[in-house]
Symmetry: C2
Subunit: 552 residues, 2 copies
Amino acid sequence: MKLALVQLNYHIGNFEENKKKITDQIKQAKERGVDLVVFSELAICGYPPLDLLNRQEFVEASVEAIEGIAEYCNGIAAVIGGPSLNPHSQGKQLYNSAWFLADGKVKEVIHKTLLPNYDIFDEYRYFQPNEDFKVINFKGARIAITICEDLWDDQPVEADFARNKLYTLSPMQKLAALKPDFMINIAASPFSYHQENVRKQVVCNKAAEYHLPVAYVNQVGANTELIFDGGSMMVNSEGNITHKLPAFEEAFLDLEVNRVNVVSSGQLSETDPIKLIHDGLILGIKDYFRKSGLKKAVLGLSGGIDSAVTAALAVEALGAENVHGLLLPSQYSTGHSITDAQQLARNLGIKTYTIAIKDIYRSIEETLKPVFEDRKPDVTEENIQARIRGLLLMAYSNKFGHILLNTSNKSEAAVGYGTLYGDMNGGLSVLGDVYKTDVFKLARYLNKDREVIPENTIIKPPSAELRPDQKDSDSLPDYEILDKVLFRYIELNRSPKSIIDEGFPEEVVRKTVRLVNFNEYKRFQTPPILRVSGKAFGVGRRMPLVARYERL
Amino acid sequence: MKLALVQLNYHIGNFEENKKKITDQIKQAKERGVDLVVFSELAICGYPPLDLLNRQEFVEASVEAIEGIAEYCNGIAAVIGGPSLNPHSQGKQLYNSAWFLADGKVKEVIHKTLLPNYDIFDEYRYFQPNEDFKVINFKGARIAITICEDLWDDQPVEADFARNKLYTLSPMQKLAALKPDFMINIAASPFSYHQENVRKQVVCNKAAEYHLPVAYVNQVGANTELIFDGGSMMVNSEGNITHKLPAFEEAFLDLEVNRVNVVSSGQLSETDPIKLIHDGLILGIKDYFRKSGLKKAVLGLSGGIDSAVTAALAVEALGAENVHGLLLPSQYSTGHSITDAQQLARNLGIKTYTIAIKDIYRSIEETLKPVFEDRKPDVTEENIQARIRGLLLMAYSNKFGHILLNTSNKSEAAVGYGTLYGDMNGGLSVLGDVYKTDVFKLARYLNKDREVIPENTIIKPPSAELRPDQKDSDSLPDYEILDKVLFRYIELNRSPKSIIDEGFPEEVVRKTVRLVNFNEYKRFQTPPILRVSGKAFGVGRRMPLVARYERL
């Protein structure tokens, strides 16, 4: 049987566009003599649709669009992900389904069994789990269809004190008992820099365990903060990858499927995580703008590494002509802030404006004098500077229609080293899931062919320049140590005690953890953060703002 | 058997305080000759602990604290909510449990069966559902214990096109088969202005259906945006409420329980929803400050109704001495803005400062002139004014340690009539779940005994005063209509078509829905909003930012 794996970039709720993309592929595949073309999970509406699934008109539009696509499935069959209504009188009203279309109509609807409900996933919010296992007979083959998480029954629970398997049921085991010839898995598995290898291991292990070829089709493209990398693949019954689609782009692949093909031996990818992060962020920026109908970005250029890397990524994603930079020096800005930012702008070929903030600052100082009386300067004055910059950037954004890109990195976001309504402003946070030490690596990566990020920006000590001679290291631990502690506390969910037991200085660990916990309120109000790690700030990490964290 | 129902206000993660509150109650109940004292769901750690449940040290501290409490349970027994570890090798690693303590130790741990995972609830993210039903034998009585949602198996699904019951299982039916003498339900059921009646109906109907008295203990107190109103009660086997604890305060009640008591006949509460909203918001503000270790608030007083009502509520919650108001007039502020705000401040007895923003505005205008050149004024200049105010309020907050209260109402938040990083600033949104028409009712309610909100503030037409002679009604539909359309779209989840079919003008409905959808990005960055309705903006409503909403 000739199969086509098709990984496309869907736009949530854009049924017309999604339907057209799908039917175009069906028509072309039919011309190539394909028997069955496979699209990804919830393809018809885009993943994740979130609470749009609670809206009748959204679900109806999804079902209608799929029924419309069925008309194109004559002489060819298709598997397409989409919600379906639960016909039973009890339970959640939707299933997360794979629609099997053939002979011009809907032939079968298969439902997802394992509904992920951790990190960024909330599927149990919407869907009833499947309890009924069946295979599809098509052109003499018995085909088992599963949806994403259905292969992940061996998944350990998320927390560090995990001792359990998350699920009590294995859909693949149930289906294997029905003796299928091969399995299709349609997925919407989001990117993180280690996810590709985990995913390959899961799919290959399952294929080998059940001696069953698996055709795996994942979504590609970014939807708000979630980036999907595609990487669809065919795995043979030995558990070897025989075909692989590229990462981060739309693609399709035709292949012959049968029980025994061994074309090549699969292996884990050696891709540099920094390259993956780079490629993921580019796609994330591109899709945020394109899918919102936007073109142009603006950001503040401080001469520092975060804004420089953000600008370079934005230029790659949107084009130099669509990225403007504002240089917003204060009385504390050093000479190199300006020269480094200008050098960056020249390297990138972007338009900049330089707007000194000192007159505005003075006017604010003057205005507040009767209220502040003779109180000594403190963090208030630092925040005022950051907020003037935020205000000017937003004014530029409002006047010219450029979306403000936030330049905070994950280390800063973690410890609250940033000003709400100041440098934390923006429509999208590009680096908010990238630790400072990785921002430096990204800078080196961007410079691999030529100098994009000025060398001085990379080598000078990081500083917020909000008071004379300020350095990040005055108030924060060295980033090399800080980032390791943060990774253990946030990504690995380890307790402060166990991090100290690993050999990190107790004082640093306690202070870091205290700062992370104390600053939940700031992160509550940050822009969406492009997710590239296994645990990003945002929807995947939900912490109480008002709580006592002392025991933690 | 003598039962004590105890509704307390727990602090998330504050194990010491929570444990002390619980043991104090146990000691006192013992002196009163109580046999069994009942506390609410997840009492030991506070509800909702969110992703703190993924942290080993948090769960360990919960379990330790409960084991410590068991030592106080000699000659008295207690039921206390807390997480427990799932001992099985598969499934989520926690249960949401009721710990039964007696004879100085943990005698039994009963788990929650129905895990709510809609609106603000994410329980399936953390907990394995119970599958094993049993009753507890204590002092000759057979006691069935359920946890909150376990009584709500008849719950319809949330969406407007609901045709199903959400759950496929009835824990009460399972337990009734074991012939218990009475049932205990421990709950953490958040407040909304119609929730009390819904809750009474559910508990009374269930008691009557199974001819089983039900002792219902709910948590009281607010945790960030969620307000819990308590309202614990005893319902007899006829389905009548025999005892009721007060709303919005800590309380306990002793009672004799047996199969047949009919003390009084239960009835639905006639409480004015505006009074409920008022009481809920007061508790919400109080607990946000107290549990965060804060005392003082600041807010901008525009002379308008939203800031006036917010100020009055803050004064009631925190005391006049802890609330400061800033009057921040611009060149577009009318005379009555100042006089109305000053009258309000006099009525409330709060300290104010008046800081004219025009010099700062001029300095910003001057600074931006070379960039803006001769572009015409537009919304940019309006936003600059709002952002100057936001900046000054935050400067005051930073300098004096007053937390900024946000004054946006739900109608504005819905249609995006507000400036990000300007008037949308704040640590807590007090009125963000109260429609404008209800803000007026709240003002009248606050004025029931004497003038608190100046009459002119109530009767003048609402205006943002960001350009000459501006009125809200220039750009928004009349609030009387707008709020009705919003309620149908947001709370009732109705489709635009069905709202139009009800008779609302098509143009108004389409425009309103478009504005709601378009402004998801603004609401993404708003402060936590005290929840008083069945569908508040925030964690209970999760919409994609980047999506096409045209079909909706």
